[in-house]
Symmetry: C2
Subunit: 395 residues, 2 copies
Amino acid sequence: MEYYFSDKMKALKPSAIREIFKSMGDPEMISFAAGNPSPLSFPVDDLARIGADIFKNSSTAALQYSVTEGYPPLRAAVEARMKEKFNIGREGDMTIITSGGQQGMELCCKSLCNEGDVVICEDPSFIGSLNSFRSCGAKPVGIPLGDDGIDPEELDRALSTTENVKLVYLIPTFQNPAGLTTSLEKRKAIYDVCVKHGVIIIEDNPYGELRFAGEDIPTIKSMDTEGIVVYCSSFSKILSAGMRVGFVCGPEAILQKMVVAKQGEDVHTNIFFQMLCHRFMTECDLDGHIAGIRKIYREKCGLMLSTLDRCMPKEIKYTRPEGGLFIWVTLPECINMQAFVKKALENKVAVVPGNAFLCDENGTVNAFRINYSTPSDEDIVRGCEILGRVAREML
Amino acid sequence: MEYYFSDKMKALKPSAIREIFKSMGDPEMISFAAGNPSPLSFPVDDLARIGADIFKNSSTAALQYSVTEGYPPLRAAVEARMKEKFNIGREGDMTIITSGGQQGMELCCKSLCNEGDVVICEDPSFIGSLNSFRSCGAKPVGIPLGDDGIDPEELDRALSTTENVKLVYLIPTFQNPAGLTTSLEKRKAIYDVCVKHGVIIIEDNPYGELRFAGEDIPTIKSMDTEGIVVYCSSFSKILSAGMRVGFVCGPEAILQKMVVAKQGEDVHTNIFFQMLCHRFMTECDLDGHIAGIRKIYREKCGLMLSTLDRCMPKEIKYTRPEGGLFIWVTLPECINMQAFVKKALENKVAVVPGNAFLCDENGTVNAFRINYSTPSDEDIVRGCEILGRVAREML
């Protein structure tokens, strides 16, 4: 039997990150390739205690079918927190629960994009979202990401000259993969450009609560007087990634359509863990818990940066994140990135080649992504030393 | 701001069933409209005990990101059980875990169908799947469901004359909404017709383990020597619907594509509950537990049928299921179904109007669906008595 696939899925390959994971069986391998939160960030004791209570006192509700929009008390708690922390949500907005932050992107694209429509993205951008757009038949088109975000004038030009742009996808805070944050000035300008063109922005903010240095910058959604921003985030980096609980806040008309799309995908998100999130938010010290996670990542990021500072030849440049999980390392022209990544792997350090994050799948970039949240402190030091040695050998 | 939606989502409305749920706030309402498993079918004590142990001894794995294909030990356990119970799975097949059975349908359609492609369905069929196909841009086209399944010759004609048919979607066992089961003879003939036309079958079997009368009939997937059947099922009706854990077994090439699509939707299914399912399957008496559920539904279905027999005028016809959750009630021509449903609702009994399950959204059918798994025994009797009274008044 020969199988024929849909145009949108035909060419889509599993993400490069996943493929690297498969070579991770080697126990000697140091992985800087993951994007996993530290297991230390899971509040296991509280989750276990509340979980036991849910089984004991609310088992029917926790195991039965539920509504697609999400567990109402959790929606309310999330709404209140978004408002308080990020000034998000106003008249005409609605909040729903999704199966991880990723589902928010996919549902939004499915609801708004026909096949062949364009999603403007930062270049590089999060491969999971790019593939999600591609799987909906939409085409990611990149605008280069500068140190403080994409250039609003370039966005204006792209929106003026590109046909069928339905979405602008941004990770303005601690971007994945670059670890960079878009400045307030650029956020305002980007928002204005999108209002001018009547284009919807997806603001993806999974790392927003993970700031360990510098000052918070207002979210784009907090400026959204016109109802053009769909804001996606999740509990993956602050409670548990494996439970797959995320949320979206955006204009009700769009969110209602996303609910219909979600109904056709998974009916609703695991309700037991929605109840668990709600109980944790209302009974435990979520802010204190997040402060603890920030401390872990401040130390891990600091350790990785100081080791890179010590071991890396000065020709190798890297971002200095104020939060999030990732550092983006740019090689000088004289070192070929693919050769570097291969040699690093041979020396038992896995990193993600930068081209995996490009909108143009055949594009090239002389950079790679490394992660400090997953590896142990010892592995961070050893891994960076190895990367430094590989760099010196290739210079 | 005016919002423009994708062609595929533009016309799609929330399912009629969901809309009926919204009017269910009334505590006096007797709902025969749901498709919920009985809460008595949830093995709460075992789930609570194993859940506590997972939090205690495997918390990192249970709360961290996991692989898209599903938790390997659960995949293996599901594979073994499908083989044993339904003779499903052979060389070239692969099993993955999905976020409920519904996601299997959606991922398969997304992987195989372009916008405008056709999915042949039983008419009536499960509205959740129909909407799932529609949300992928595919068009459900119905073949009338007879007492023992669709007519293979009619399927042959449809496949010969309809362009761009990519899938045939069937619920051969205890069909939703009709409660009917396709005969072995027709299963074989349908399979042969699909092989002849090289068209993929989705066999949806969420109720297969819920037989409480008669003899098991081999699944279509068990006949699949050619690798044309994608088999979807779930734990929703045997362990918990709210946890959203389903599974798919089918040709590896198709399933690999579905994995890529799943990665773009929710990355993976809630891993804690995947581990819970696996532990329940291997440590508890799943067969014994299912035997208990069958007993509950045998009694509830029997009670509903005997009450209908007692209260319904003989002009009203209804199916007599041997398993599953639903009875399909057909009215005589002299009673208008929509008027009947409205009057039943006024008398505090909710049923689902049959046209909700039609492939042609503007089609009409003089029938409605009722469910016996969700209401209490008392409500089953009272509700059927009310339906009988309404019917007599309208005759």
